[in-house]
Symmetry: C2
Subunit: 253 residues, 2 copies
């Protein structure tokens, strides 16, 4: 299989960097082809702006203008190259340290710029969102490190449930564009790391990558699967018993 | 009062730009002092990296190194300037278009860089998180535009509940650092805008700004208020009836 590994961390001696190198080695040992975007090493431009869109005769809003630039084939070369990498991949790893309960800006800017109008979404209502679209059929896994411990980031934890925290990325970005996220690979209490723990972690990572194919996706509901009404609200009766909000509503069981 | 307005949009003719200019005018009409950081106009550096930290003799992890740079007074000048602006403010507006259910990268990078270790958080367990800290006592309001309509971004909506979507920012960032977020000012279906709708919107915005002082914060629970156990999980019995997860658990009623 072809894996695309999207990775961001400012320090090449960090825990994230070790996990990144090990994930690439393990994938290659398993016989996969691996393409990497190491955003800090690439000095990736984080900010989406009009420089990305080339010369445009007309000027509407930024989203429509971005779609026009895509249509005319004049998106910035670094964007086009990343679109090619993810398009050619069968599987995607998205690896980062959790900063302010989200991705580092350099990675957010990868999605802002690469997931452009006409590539990962369309502004027309008929564009097939959530589970369909051009990136359909690719599994994706978020791999993250965080300073917080598991209890603080849990259903009753002070920082909220990680499944909710990752909803904008896993559901609102990856699945929106058609991909199938599998459960994330999470390293809590990242400050408390020693050789023994790291060696266990690497073993767990190897297992996740070895069992990539049989691993079931999270299983978010598709927008076009008949579960949502015309106003895009979950139809009555489809919610799991006792669930009224949150990510669980949007998982087909 | 002193307002600090943090704002990001790539197009100065956009709806967001109009709302931004109008919010600043209204605040000044109401007699407030207003400081603005217009991140695109400032060409704000989005990516947090070692260039922000100056020369360091020791090298640990990025978070600790960032704390050390703060301690030694050698953080990059643009970071120090923004820390000054928000420190001097009594109230903060955070205004952006919702991109991939989050902030544009340039604004995420403002928080990654400005909310540094030793300023908006500390790596010691005794640092007073969630409701306390250096930014305590400042109200903050998120102002956002989004393409989606209200039903799609609601409790049962395909894109999830906006209160959950904004949890990483409102709770995990603003409140983490001690600020008190008030309910956000949200403009849905931003593509369907005409003069009449805009004029209503501006009226609503004026009302929100006129009633800034009496407006009650969202009311997130403080970490140090006795609601969480030693592992930082909400103590049994404190949840509203029938609520087992999501942002509502963390609001003190």
């Amino acid at each position: 299989m072809k894996f695309f590994v999207l990775y961001a961390h400012p320090d090449h001696t960090s825990l994230s960097a070790s996990l990144h190198r090990d994930s690439v080695s393990i994938l290659r040992e398993l016989g996969h082809e691996v393409t990497v975007s190491d955003l800090y090493a690439m000095k990736w431009k984080a900010t989406a702006d009009y420089e990305d869109l080339g010369e445009l005769d007309e000027h509407d809003n930024f989203t429509d203008d971005s779609g026009l630039a895509m249509e005319k084939g004049q998106l910035a070369a670094d964007i086009v190259e990343e679109q090619r990498k993810i398009s050619e991949a069968d599987a995607v790893l998205v690896q980062f340290p959790l900063w302010w309960f989200s991705m580092p800006a350099i990675m957010k800017g990868w999605f802002d710029r690469v997931f452009s109008n006409g590539f990962a979404y369309g502004t027309t209502r008929s564009w097939p969102r959530y589970g369909n679209g051009k990136l359909q059929g690719k599994k994706a896994m978020v791999m993250l490190t965080m300073g917080a411990g598991t209890p603080a980031v849990s259903e009753r934890g002070v920082s909220g449930d990680l499944n909710d925290i990752l909803f904008p990325l896993q559901r609102g970005t990856l699945h929106y564009a058609g991909m199938d996220p599998v459960p994330p690979f999470v390293v809590p209490s990242a400050y408390r790391m020693d050789e023994e723990r790291y060696s266990q972690l690497k073993q767990q990572l190897r297992q996740r990558l070895e069992t990539w194919e049989p691993t079931a996706p999270i299983g978010y509901r598709c927008q076009n699967g008949g579960d949502y009404d015309e106003q895009l609200r979950l139809k009555p009766g489809l919610e799991p018993t006792g669930v009224h909000s949150g990510y669980k509503l949007h998982i087909a069981s």
